[in-house]
């Protein structure tokens, strides 16, 4: 899926993570994050590997797998990779493309700076992370 610059900005603006941003800020996000494409079957995050990044799904679907067992699926607008980057620890799960995947990517070392520049994105992320924590604790109980 190839998007024109304006289509990309519009697409990003339609994702909940970036919903509070102004058009100028969306333009910055489009510049700051790199578009990448991965074939079906490829792992984007790998359990135990260092140097990971932060990803936002533009198109496609991924499975989150721990020791080969599927735990969840993520689709358009969902993001992943922030846990490992923020904790400075390798992922405890694999994230695998289930079909052709189109993502926005930000290198790990850039994530904190990016969030500080965009507090509205951080707050959105905070709420999603809180929701994940709630779900994680439900699995446990």
């Amino acid at each position: 899926m190839a998007l024109s610059r304006q289509q990309l900005v519009d697409t990003i603006g339609g994702l909940s993570l970036f919903a509070d941003l102004t058009p100028t800020q969306l333009e910055q996000v489009a510049h700051r994050l790199a578009e990448e494409s991965y074939p079906a079957g490829q792992r984007i995050l790998r359990q135990g590997f260092t140097g990971t990044g932060f990803y936002v799904i533009l198109e496609g679907e991924v499975a989150i797998r721990i020791d080969g067992e599927e735990r969840a699926r993520l689709g358009k607008g969902d993001f992943f990779g922030e846990m490992s980057v923020l904790l400075g620890e390798p992922p405890v799960a694999d994230v695998v493309a289930l079909r052709q995947l189109h993502v926005l990517h930000l290198g790990g070392p850039e994530l904190e700076g990016f969030l500080r520049e965009h507090p509205a994105v951080m707050l959105r992320m905070l709420r999603t992370v809180a929701l994940r924590l709630r779900n994680a604790s439900r699995w446990r109980s």
């Binding site: 190839a2 494409s37 074939p39 140097g51």
Partner: protein, 504 residues
């Protein structure tokens, strides 16, 4: 008609057709021939060189070739110090760039680079049908048909090495009046002018550096702050050669580097008015300029391939590819040269590989050709048996000296299959992402990696049979000789674990 008859590769049916005569096309053709795969090479140009026939605009490259390096020129290790020569198996055809440089810089001039490429084609006998323009593509049962100005070429496999070469400008109002980097005029024509450059990539800084002695004022603007290669530990940043404008801006010397998006560009009496929106929330900023240049990048000229089903992504319209640079949506279509940067690989710490440059793409070409030769034409890869006691030394040697691992960090690896029954086999060089995600026989691979502190070290990936690979980082060495006692011991114990797992 005599002239036409002398041109190689008339229209017809070929196992493989390569489109392009830049470094990517020449390198792919060279390896196809080494593997005995008949193919045609066609190019719209009149001579070899691709983009290097015109660019960089200021006539000097960003990629080093060091005539006097720690490695001898006939050793493959030398390729790490020579980023511009194409690869050849015959020692006399290697390191051609180093022979042709005049000593004024370790970065070759554009004409020197062009000569390097034509010399390679001449010496290795890579021939091209020049002046043959690829117009369109269609399918005919199991063949692709490439329609050209000379007629139809039918093939089983097509390799497009057409560069990321089409100037791209944003749709923002006013850009239609503004020249692209590719349309920059002679430097002297900017004498005394107020210049506005859109962009902060290397091409923008190249223009700023080259026009520094001419323009009276230079403004560079884009939403994202400029990043320098020395800080990023990666060639993705602005290179040291182009840092002068940064110093001038820091000292207040008439260069301004602004973080802002361009809202619109209007013509004014004497030139342009650029309306910027500052990224720091500082609001609107109007800049008057005599000249504006859009250093905003390039796209892939993929013609009508999308109608064939080739999916593309991103601003540069790069094709979506497998780890072997094959179209993810249309098998049989491959890409060589700078287009290969669309395969992201591991991108550890956000650092891209060098697939967008000759020194990365030339290795991708070899891996790609070996792969397509095997999968489409049944040419088995040579996988010599390795004595078990030699594996550790061989892999640490590869990490210390193999140019493909140094040029394509965290991207290409050297792998060995560990089979206790039939013996261990050297799998050669392959994409790291493919190695770690493909489950199969027990295997081990080594790569060279850089982390966010800039430390360069080997990484070992042990893949037990039918299980995913496990990463282990080895220690660095102040002189980058990774054959240390600690690394030998650690690798030996990793291999022991892997093979004992395989037996279980």
């Amino acid at each position: 008609m005599a002239e036409l008859a002398d041109r190689p590769f008339p229209p017809g049916d070929y196992p493989v057709v390569v489109v392009g005569s830049g470094p990517g096309g020449l390198q792919a053709s060279y390896f196809l021939r080494r593997l005995g795969i008949a193919h045609a090479v066609i190019s719209a140009d009149e001579r070899p060189g691709g983009m290097f026939r015109r660019f960089p605009f200021f006539q000097r490259l960003l990629s080093w070739t060091k005539p006097y390096a720690p490695a001898p020129r006939d050793d493959r290790w030398y390729e790490w110090y020579d980023w511009n020569s194409l690869l050849a198996d015959e020692p006399q055809n290697r390191s051609i760039m180093a022979e042709l440089m005049d000593g004024s810089s370790s970065f070759p001039s554009r004409p020197e680079m062009e000569l390097n490429l034509s010399t390679f084609a001449h010496r290795t006998g890579v021939s091209v049908r020049y002046g043959c323009t690829w117009r369109g593509t269609r399918r005919d049962e199991d063949r692709f048909v490439l329609e050209t100005t000379d007629g139809d070429y039918r093939c089983q496999v097509a390799i497009f090495a057409v560069g990321v070469a089409q100037p791209w400008k944003p749709e923002t109002p006013g850009f239609e009046h503004v020249p692209h980097y590719a349309e920059t005029r002679d430097a002297a024509e900017y004498a005394g002018r107020k210049l506005f450059i859109v962009g902060k990539e290397n091409s923008a800084f190249e223009l700023a550096t080259g026009l520094l002695p001419w323009a009276q004022r230079i403004v560079l603007a884009s939403p994202r702050p400029a990043k320098l290669s020395v800080n990023l530990h990666s060639l993705a940043g602005v290179r040291a050669r182009y840092i002068q404008p940064v110093e001038d801006e820091v000292l207040g010397g008439g260069v301004f580097i602004i973080n802002a998006s361009i809202d619109r560009i209007d013509r004014s009496a004497g030139g342009y008015r650029v309306r910027c929106l500052r990224s720091d929330g500082g609001g609107e900023l109007n800049v008057d300029a005599d000249e504006v240049i859009a250093a905003t990048g390039w796209t892939c000229p993929l013609n009508d391939l999308s109608e064939l089903g080739v999916s593309v992504f991103g601003r540069s319209l790069l094709p979506s590819m497998t780890n072997y640079w094959q179209s993810a949506s249309v098998p049989g279509i491959y890409f060589a040269g700078t287009i290969g940067q669309g395969v992201a690989g591991m991108k550890k710490y956000g650092m891209p590989a060098n697939s967008g440059a000759v020194h990365g793409a030339r290795y991708n070409a070899r891996v790609m050709v070996e792969h397509l030769a095997e999968t489409h034409f049944g040419v088995a890869r040579h996988q010599p048996v390795v004595e078990p006691e030699r594996i550790v030394e061989m892999l640490l040697q590869a990490a210390t000296r193999s140019p493909e691992l140094w040029n394509q960090k965290s991207y290409l690896c050297r792998a060995v299959a560990l089979d206790p029954s039939s013996g261990s086999r050297d799998l050669g060089v392959m994409p790291l992402a493919d190695f770690v995600d493909r489950e199969g026989v027990a295997a081990v691979a080594i790569a060279v990696e850089t982390d966010d502190s800039g430390d360069i070290h080997p990484a070992v990936y042990v893949r037990p049979a039918n299980r995913p690979a496990v990463e282990t980082l080895l220690e660095s060495d102040p002189l980058h000789d990774f054959r240390t006692p600690a690394n030998r011991a650690q690798m030996a114990s990793l291999l022991k674990e892997a093979t004992s797992g395989a037996i279980r």
